[in-house]
């Protein structure tokens, strides 16, 4: 009843091409933003902010990055963790080299460094396709995480071989390091994520996004209609690694506070790939849903036995958690292989024709 386009006429090309053509969608987006900017910071404890909301936002950003590569361009990558690490270590180096510089600018700059590294490892993608490419990106993952231990210059010759985040302030308020409150960190992450999502949305809905999708659907056909394959694929690698790099930097600087090479190992790459697939390939909103689902589920599972007062050993919970996550992944793929984003679309469609079946 409420969710219906009846009576909304498009009278210009601009309104016809709008990303959210329905008024209700625009209102919905505004409500979501309002919740994210006002309700959540006010209503959530700093523990929940730190262990739930900030990681979900950070992983959403990384998921958008991988989605650009895998979902939009059709290139499977297992090197996400490595590229995130590049972002984090680059930011760390930049903050020590340029202590005066604004840390947000440095995080974005290190995204550019990650993009360069991503392009380097994307070079074989013209000749190598499909699962072969996935294995080739594993080379990036293992090489990069080897660098994070074996090149001491990267972590300033620390004995612990870990990077620790210095305190940096923005407008006089500390946003990184031990003194930053979860709320300020949440706001910084949220602003970066919203801005970069907006940018990604414009990218994928425009000419570049169309090029990526053409390459994904069939690269030879795309080449025949005049798309330069190599540039398009490398651009996808660059943008994707930029997003992953920024996500990695945010992860260390605004969430964890310290990191070592273990934080960016192969499991990280798999985790992000889960999020992409569960959320939905080639969908931005799916990236958020996937990240929230995969990150939120174990948190819920851990909390569930306590809430219901079932006494289970904590190790058992962890084992059960693995089993449940694995089973749920299979279950979701069986029920809806196109991910949560498709479920969301179906729900909207149902809502549009409600109360009639079609």
């Amino acid at each position: 009843m409420l969710y219906r386009e009846a009576g909304q006429f498009k009278s210009s090309y601009v309104s016809d091409m709008a990303i959210f053509p329905l008024r209700q969608d625009r209102i919905g987006l505004a409500v979501i933003l309002l919740i994210a900017f006002v309700v959540i910071p006010l209503g959530m404890s700093s523990f929940a902010l730190n262990s739930l909301m900030i990681p979900i936002l950070v992983f959403s950003l990384a998921t958008i990055g991988l989605n650009i590569l895998t979902g939009y361009t059709g290139l499977i990558s297992l090197g996400t963790g490595g590229f995130m690490g590049v972002g984090a270590y680059a930011t760390y180096k930049l903050t020590t080299l340029m202590p005066e510089m604004n840390v947000v600018v440095l995080i974005l700059a290190s995204g550019l460094i990650a993009a360069t590294v991503g392009v380097l490892f994307g070079l074989p993608s013209l000749r190598i396709k499909g699962f072969y490419l996935a294995v080739a990106t594993l080379a990036a993952q293992f090489f990069l995480s080897w660098c994070f231990i074996r090149v001491p210059w990267l972590y300033n010759y620390n004995v612990s071989a870990a990077i620790e985040v210095p305190t940096r302030a923005l407008f006089g308020v500390p946003i990184t390091g031990p003194n930053a409150t979860p709320i300020t960190r949440y706001y910084v992450v949220l602003l970066v994520v919203v801005a970069m999502t907006w940018f990604a949305s414009n990218l994928v809905h425009g000419r570049i996004g169309r090029m990526w999708m053409a390459v994904r659907d069939m690269d030879i056909a795309a080449e025949l209609i005049g798309i330069r394959l190599y540039q398009t694929k490398l651009l996808a690698f660059a943008v994707s690694s930029f997003y992953c790099g920024v996500a990695g930097a945010l992860m260390v600087f605004l969430w964890l506070g310290a990191a070592e090479f273990e934080s960016f190992n192969i499991n990280e790459s798999f985790l992000i790939l889960f999020m992409v697939i569960i959320g939905g390939l080639g969908s931005l909103i799916g990236s958020f849903m996937g990240a929230a689902f995969i990150w939120g589920l174990p948190v819920l599972l851990r909390a569930a036995p306590e809430t219901f007062g079932i006494p289970i050993h904590s190790a058992t919970i962890e084992h059960l958690q693995f089993m449940i996550v694995g089973a749920l992944i299979i279950f979701f793929l069986v029920v809806e292989p196109h991910g949560l984003a498709r479920l969301w679309q179906l729900a909207k469609q149902k809502l549009r024709v409600w109360p009639y079946p079609y």
Binding site: I76, L138, A139, R150, H319, G326, I330
Partner: protein, 318 residues
């Protein structure tokens, strides 16, 4: 100049100076190559027959070995435990076919790939829940696996060949030969190859896809069990083996996803290349290059032959 010397001359000089060490390194490489090849074999079997890139092969190795050891620890005699483990792998194959493959027929490759990820997680959880997460010792004695080593005097030094490594190589060869005969000569083997060529055509001549998939996953399970026993006997049965199993991936792309001999040759190239690289060139850029050298070797090969050494030629049509 000095760097060039370090890279191009010095390692070879070392090799010439201590040939027994070279032979030892080659042997070590050969053995780890055989083990990689065994894991890769499991991948190839499943990929050939169902087009599924089975990420869970690594955890199947761990799971099989863990079941074997775990059952033995609970008091089951070794060979009964072995038999029971084979039954467990059969049950697993049935379950996978019923619950994962069948509902996902005709989905894109990446979805099936993802489903095997889910399977991996499930098996990790299940294995830890039933047998605990701590490393275990393989019951090598009870299974009458040889111990100790031959010391062969050659080239002015000693070369030590572990008996278990020799056993691994022999078992791997037997297994590959059996599989090759199975694929080429038997009725089921022919059906398998038909399914690999085209699901639809195979269905239309009356081959049961379900049955074939169970057979393939069961065979992969047996291969996993053999790998698990061998690998467990060389070190320990632990969950980190699953990450080592990722090493089978460069082996796969070297050999080609669809070729059984390719898996063996690829495994040996990767194993030997890795050990030689680590031993002679490793000190130059810091140790531990073993972790990524295999992937880089595979990457270089891929640039020249994108379908691997023995893979079917990739033909693309609009």
């Amino acid at each position: 100049m000095d760097l060039l010397y370090q890279i191009f001359v010095n390692p070879f000089a070392q090799m010439a100076a201590a040939p027994d060490l070279l032979v030892q390194t080659l042997w070590e490489g050969l053995v780890s190559g055989v083990l990689y090849a065994l894991i890769a074999l499991g991948f190839v079997l499943i990929f050939k027959a169902s087009g599924v890139f089975n990420f869970a092969q690594g955890i199947m190795v761990v799971f099989a070995a863990l079941t074997l050891v775990g059952l033995h620890q609970k008091g089951v005699p070794a060979f009964v435990a072995l038999f029971l483990t084979i039954l467990v792998m059969l049950a697993l194959a049935y379950a996978v076919e019923r619950l994962v493959l069948k509902p996902l027929v005709n989905q894109p490759d990446i979805i099936l790939f993802m489903a095997t990820f889910g399977l991996t997680y499930f098996l990790i959880g299940l294995g830890q829940l039933m047998f605990g997460g701590e490393p275990k010792v393989m019951i090598a004695n009870e299974l009458y696996l040889p111990k100790g080593s031959f010391d062969i005097k050659m080239l002015g030094g000693f070369v030590a060949l572990q008996k278990i490594d020799i056993a691994a190589a022999v078992i791997a060869s037997i297994m590959v030969a059996t599989l090759a005969i199975f694929f080429q000569r038997t009725r089921i083997g022919r059906a398998l190859r038909a399914v690999a060529d085209s699901h639809k055509a195979a269905l239309s001549v009356g081959i049961s896809l379900e049955q074939i998939w169970v057979v393939v996953w069961f065979t992969a399970g047996i291969v996993a069990l053999a790998t698990g026993i061998m690998w467990g006997a060389r070190s320990q049965v632990e969950f980190s083996l699953q990450i080592i199993a990722l090493k089978a991936l460069p082996v796969l792309i070297l050999g080609g996803f669809t070729s059984i001999p390719g898996a063996i040759v690829g495994g040996i190239i990767i194993g030997v290349g890795e050990k030689l690289g680590e031993f002679y060139w490793g000190p130059l850029i810091g140790s531990g290059i073993e972790s990524w050298l295999a992937y880089v070797i595979a990457l270089v090969f891929l640039l020249f032959r994108p379908q691997g050494l023995f893979g079917d030629r990739i033909i693309e049509r609009i």
